[in-house]
């Protein structure tokens, strides 16, 4: 089966369309790279590109995007509502199919080394690719932003980059890492009582004692109580475990689940695992899905 990696680079440009177009074109020019989505925010002055392909293809696309961004974006002239430290601010690799997180960590290190050496941009490895525990959290890595890190990078050992020079040019610094796929998933309850959604969110989310890879909030959306979630590692905390826990909690308050919704994309594996769990389908192999046998 073909190996597929997703890459979601964030660039510090959300206003000059010609710059955004040039960066996306540089990524798409990597043979085999497929750009799935480009989201631009003028207030944040930031663009998030989602593209996929085989590992080597994605590595090349990410490098070419970072190279073009360094040519076209000057952090000394950049302002926006979103924290940032580089022209290419952050590059996460996400394993989709046929490779492990370790494979994506390896990709992150190789890309970081290449950006550091060839573009002379300091690179900090983060999340699963982090070389120090205090660099796992992106917000910690980016603390002080472009202006603050520029002051400290040469002198402060805590700010020594993993690759590249201990000085920052107008392209700033880049965080390169690996993380699981993020699923945005909401469950609507058959009630208008937002307090029930809030109580359930508190029970299922990690921060208040719930499931390890769930972030959740209780909201009122068009008069209906909603448990709004980010599932940050669907392989370790599967969707069906989350849904069944919400159903059980909702019943405690005399309420049923009305429906759920998926925001954006999801890897096939996440839904197949739910199907197998509910159908008690033991011994299922992904190769049994006819489409997975095509063009491999």
């Amino acid at each position: 089966m073909q190996q597929i990696v997703e890459c979601v680079p964030n660039f510090s440009e959300g206003r000059r369309q010609e710059v955004i177009d040039a960066i996306v074109a540089a990524i798409a020019a990597a043979p085999g790279a497929q750009v799935l989505d480009t989201q631009t925010d003028a207030d944040h002055n930031r663009t998030v590109v989602t593209f996929v392909g085989e590992p080597e293809v994605v590595l090349e696309g990410a490098f070419q995007g970072a190279r073009r961004a360094a040519e076209l974006i000057n952090l000394d002239e950049h302002s926006g509502a979103h924290p940032r430290m580089g022209a290419t601010d952050v590059i996460p690799f996400v394993p989709i199919r046929g490779l492990t997180m370790a494979g994506c960590v390896e990709l992150a290190r190789r890309l970081g080394q290449r950006i550091g050496e060839e573009l002379e941009i300091p690179v900090f490895l983060y999340e699963e690719a982090a070389t120090r525990p205090e660099r796992q959290n992106l917000a910690d890595v980016r603390k002080g932003q472009y202006e603050g890190i520029r002051e400290l990078i040469a002198s402060d050992p805590a700010h020594a980059p993993d690759f590249g020079p201990r000085r920052m040019g107008p392209a700033g610094a880049t965080a390169v890492g690996a993380r699981p796929f993020l699923v945005a998933f909401n469950v609507y309850l058959a009630t208008g009582d937002v307090e029930i959604a809030k109580k359930i969110a508190k029970t299922v989310r990690h921060s208040t004692g719930g499931l390890r890879f769930v972030k959740a909030l209780g909201l009122l959306v068009e008069g209906q109580a909603q448990v709004s979630m980010n599932l940050t590692d669907f392989r370790r905390t599967p969707i069906h475990v989350v849904v069944e826990m919400i159903r059980r909690e909702a019943a405690r308050y005399g309420v049923l689940v009305a429906r759920s919704e998926l925001v954006g994309m999801i890897p096939q594996e996440a839904l197949l695992e739910a199907a197998c769990w509910y159908l008690q389908l033991d011994g299922f192999r992904p190769e049994q899905v006819l489409e997975n046998r095509l063009f491999t």
Copy 2:
């Protein structure tokens, strides 16, 4: 999204490996055709090939297979345990993705016409492609087999082919049709009492009053009661409806479902539909599956 058709031609040769190889090679030579499986049975003296591709590709592969089979197989010299009427005995088209049953019926008619005109082999359209109700069932079309149909084809209006001449050469006649994907699916009960599996099979199968597109038998497999099924149209009788009905019936006898198993392949859609049903995932679109966005 790319259109995908499955084609499962049956050839009347299960002993001479060089003939089987030549036919499979003729199919695989159609650019873009992908042979997924070849099953040969020497007792039946028959080979079943499963291949997939875009509609025009599959049409070409099926024609080339039939052409080669007509050159290499002589029905006057053929004997085997399985009923047959032609060198290429039957060719069903199965819609997998991006096209409807009507699209596969159209493919069947075009292939039938081409086999009739270019190979001068009589063709009978069957199942969803049938032009007469009495030709929907393949067993009815093939009644009398090669030897019997050869006698009647010129004179009997009921045996007039849909395409090709009203005479049969040593390549016999071919049934060409369209049908839904067949899912082979078994549910094991947490009991060794085969009578319970038999009662449940009777309740869920179409022939004795159950679900429209379910064939079922109750069996004892390695000491465990099993409801063994063919789901003949998973779009109209979805898998989760079958599983939930079996769970409910089993509970009536104080028994739980232990596990289920899938024999062979399944289209992605069948499992995604189950996942969406159990998760109550409204508004889901297949394009939200990341892999479905690749190389389309």
